[in-house]
């Protein structure tokens, strides 16, 4: 049987080295071909997971605790598929974007390949030290991409991002060291039974707090969101899309894994309520800030802050004792993750096209965009539908499942937050749409854009919308164990 697991890590690393070799700003075609191969591999892997269930992969043949183990299950499959489905149109988009604006193109391709390699490795890792290495790889690639824009503002944002990401992974590493000191292993498969059966030690509790705090910082959950808008809003549009859609999901994925597997004996209902509360604050505060922005890309970036909040509602909902409630909370959370990744990639890509065409990132200058770039505006609106959670989008299914779980579990407070959040996201999406339908501001001239900029973004928005019809397949894959 052909096993795609090792290739999903090796191939992007090879593309990264080769595109560095081909030189500055070149190698887009290679990355495109490489990503198509990787997408096929992830589809093969997802099929294997559905047919044969989750499995371990012992790198080097040693097995835990001596060697490093990889682990793939339904959630891994979803994350890998999502990464490639989002990245492939974005690569097409990026080629078109950098052909019309060279700024920021310099080392985009190798950095993107290493970013994807880091994410693939992170999703499949079952070893907390190995996860740290993938976090470093991911963080440095992301910082490099933000810094590549070149303006003073983006360098400041990149340095702040670097410090935050180092602080986050430093806290995580401290937790890893504590666990290793106490239990003598860094393998999840070894640590899980040890934590579950032995008396809970203070070291394990401190380790859990440090690791989760570090990852929350990287996920930019309120009140740790301060670094996200300047970093995501200031980067070139393809970079913003990659970061907002995928990179923060990687650290969220780790929180999900650690919370429900490794640290399951330690976490309390109060801690889950706290995470949910922070999520609710993120939804409301992020949406209000998004509405107040005057720059389009900053608005989209603050919308990410808000949408991250929904992901954290699944923690309190999962504590429900009613059988169906916990299950639909998990499904809703994962659907929200998938739907937001697709919609946010589309929205940043569309915003990038509008900014490129208007020449300036300012919502007030968007007047007339409806007749100049109808497809891009349509893309923005479709992505907005997913963010608002209107049917038939993936966002609708996600919010439906979450609300269903909250109602059946009797946690009514979260329902109010989610409905308010939906209304607020409608407010900031319509703020942009309304402006785009106004007559053009005097003196502004839109530059024409190539079609290959508009279609990939539209495709992403379309997938996020149609996800609602195919959500059963996604949830099937999630349930494959």
């Amino acid at each position: 049987m052909f096993d795609p697991v090792p290739w999903l890590i090796l191939l992007p690393l090879v593309w990264g080295c080769l595109t560095f070799l081909t030189g500055v700003g070149r190698g887009g075609r290679l990355v495109l071909a490489g990503l198509i191969i990787q997408l096929v591999l992830t589809i093969i892997l997802a099929r294997q997971i559905v047919m044969e269930g989750a499995r371990h992969y012992a790198v080097g043949g040693w097995g835990a605790p001596l060697g490093v183990d990889l682990y793939v299950d339904g959630l891994t499959g979803i994350m890998l598929l999502l990464t490639h489905v989002v990245a492939l149109p974005l690569v097409v988009y990026a080629r078109a974007y950098f052909s019309s604006q060279a700024e920021g193109a310099s080392y985009f391709w190798p950095l993107t390949c290493f970013l994807l390699a880091a994410m693939n490795a992170l999703f499949m890792s079952a070893d907390i030290f190995n996860i740290y290495v993938t976090l470093e790889l991911l963080g440095l690639a992301a910082v490099g991409l933000v810094a590549a824009a070149g303006s003073a503002g983006s360098v400041t944002a990149a340095i702040r991002y670097l410090l935050v990401t180092l602080l986050g992974s430093g806290a995580y590493l401290m937790g890893v060291a504590l666990l290793y000191g106490t239990y003598g292993s860094v393998s999840l498969a070894v640590l899980e039974p040890l934590l579950a059966t032995t008396e809970i030690s203070a070291a394990a509790c401190l380790a859990a707090m440090l690791m989760l705090a570090g990852l929350l910082l990287k996920t930019a959950l309120f009140p740790f969101h301060f670094w996200l808008p300047p970093a995501h809003g200031g980067a070139p549009a393809p970079v913003s899309a990659l970061l907002s859609a995928l990179v923060i999901k990687a650290s969220f994925y780790l929180i999900l894994r650690l919370w429900f597997d490794l640290f399951a004996p330690l976490v309390t209902t109060q801690a889950a309520q706290l995470l949910g509360g922070l999520g609710a604050a993120a939804i409301l505060w992020g949406s209000i800030l998004a509405f107040n922005q005057t720059r389009l890309k900053m608005l989209v970036a603050y919308s990410t802050v808000a949408q991250i909040g929904y992901l954290f509602l699944l923690f309190p909902l999962m504590t429900s004792a009613i059988p169906g409630a916990a299950e639909s909370a998990m499904q809703g959370g994962v659907m929200q993750l998938v739907a937001h990744a697709l919609a946010k990639a589309a929205m940043f890509a569309a915003a990038g096209v509008m900014v490129l065409s208007a020449g300036k990132d300012d919502i007030a200058l968007l007047g007339g965009m409806s007749s100049h770039l109808p497809l891009t505006l349509f893309t923005f609106a479709l992505a907005g539908i997913t963010l608002m959670g209107l049917p038939p989008s993936g966002g609708f299914i996600a919010k439906w499942l979450l609300i269903d779980s909250a109602v059946s579990g009797g946690q009514w407070g979260w329902v109010v937050v989610m409905i308010l959040g939906g209304l607020l996201s409608a407010a900031y999406v319509f703020k942009v749409l309304r402006q785009a339908f106004l007559p053009p501001v005097a003196g502004i001239k839109f530059k024409p854009v190539i079609r290959m900029l508009e279609w990939p973004a539209f495709l992403l928005a379309l997938i996020s919308l149609l996800l609602g019809f195919r959500s059963v397949e996604v949830l099937n894959l999630l349930g494959a164990a």
């Binding site: 096993d3 697991v5 090792p6 890590i9 090796l10 690393l13 090879v14 990264g16 080295c17 560095f20 070799l21 030189g23 500055v24 992969y57 012992a58 790198v59 080097g60 043949g61 040693w62 605790p65 001596l66 060697g67 490093v68 310099s106 080392y107 190798p110 950095l111 290493f114 390699a117 880091a118 490795a121 030290f129 190995n130 290495v133 993938t134 470093e136 790889l137 440095l140 690639a141 910082v143 490099g144 810094a147 590549a148 070149g150 360098v155 401290m174 504590l178 000191g181 106490t182 239990y183 003598g184 292993s185 070894v190 040890l194 059966t197 032995t198 030690s201 203070a202 070291a203 401190l206």
Partner: protein, 235 residues
């Protein structure tokens, strides 16, 4: 406001430090895994006799594979930044006219060949005693920095194809071997060295890494050491 924040950060860090000390003094769990014993038990199959090298290049070689990519990424970050600034390269031998520099010059000429020798020795020694590719690469990089500081080696500009090839060749060799051992055995796993040839393959990987890591680490200094031209000087 700012000083208040500083006080808060200091108090929090101190509290974390105290808690950490308390936790570390707690005795380790009795159910602890004895990993070092396992390493010593399996070391015969690893192809090397030094436990650190066995862990770094064989048992957890996958971590190392990703770590060297992290180093390349750090260099990419530096390169992405310096592309924006125009740099001026002081011509080689710039400092050499000053008589007091003669000592430095002489020292560099004596030391650098020795450093290359030491790097080669460290690389070879890694199999059976402390040493290996990271140390050897660091010595090579230090030799590059010494040459640059004594004016014998100009600072690096945007890397041409041969420098780029040098920077990634070791990493590509590592990737190639990782894939090759997987494909030749059946069913082969990533980085699963056959015990018979493990020692040779590890030495090959380390040789490539020494070269590339040396260049990458030297690059972190040499790409930045050229003097940036001020805008005013341009005019």
């Amino acid at each position: 406001m700012r000083s208040l924040l500083n006080v808060l950060v200091i108090v929090l860090s101190a509290a974390l430090g105290l808690v950490l000390i308390g936790v570390i003094l707690e005795s380790p769990s009795p159910a602890r895994v004895r990993l070092s014993e396992e390493v010593l038990m399996q070391i015969g199959a690893s192809g090397v006799t030094h436990p650190v090298t066995a862990v770094l290049l064989n048992f957890r070689g996958y971590d190392t594979l990703l770590e060297v990519m992290v180093l390349l990424l750090a260099l990419l970050g530096v390169l992405a930044q310096m592309g924006k600034q125009k740099r001026e390269n002081p011509p080689a031998g710039f400092y050499l006219t000053e008589p007091r520099m003669q000592v430095l010059l002489w020292l560099a000429r004596v030391l650098v060949p020795l450093m290359v020798l030491v790097a080669g020795y460290l690389l070879w020694a890694g199999g059976h005693q402390p040493g290996g590719a990271f140390q050897a690469g660091a010595v090579l990089a230090a030799a590059g920095v010494l040459l640059n500081l004594s004016g014998l080696l100009p600072s690096w500009m945007e890397p041409a194809w041969n420098l780029r090839a040098g920077l990634v060749s070791g990493l590509l060799v590592f990737l190639l071997i990782a894939a090759a051992v997987m494909m030749t055995a059946s069913p082969g796993l990533l980085l699963q060295y056959p015990p018979a040839s493990a020692g040779m393959l590890i030495l090959l990987v380390e040789t490539g890494l020494t070269l590339s890591l040396g260049l990458i680490l030297a690059g972190l200094f040499l790409f930045l050491s050229g003097d940036a031209i001020d805008d005013e000087a341009d005019k």
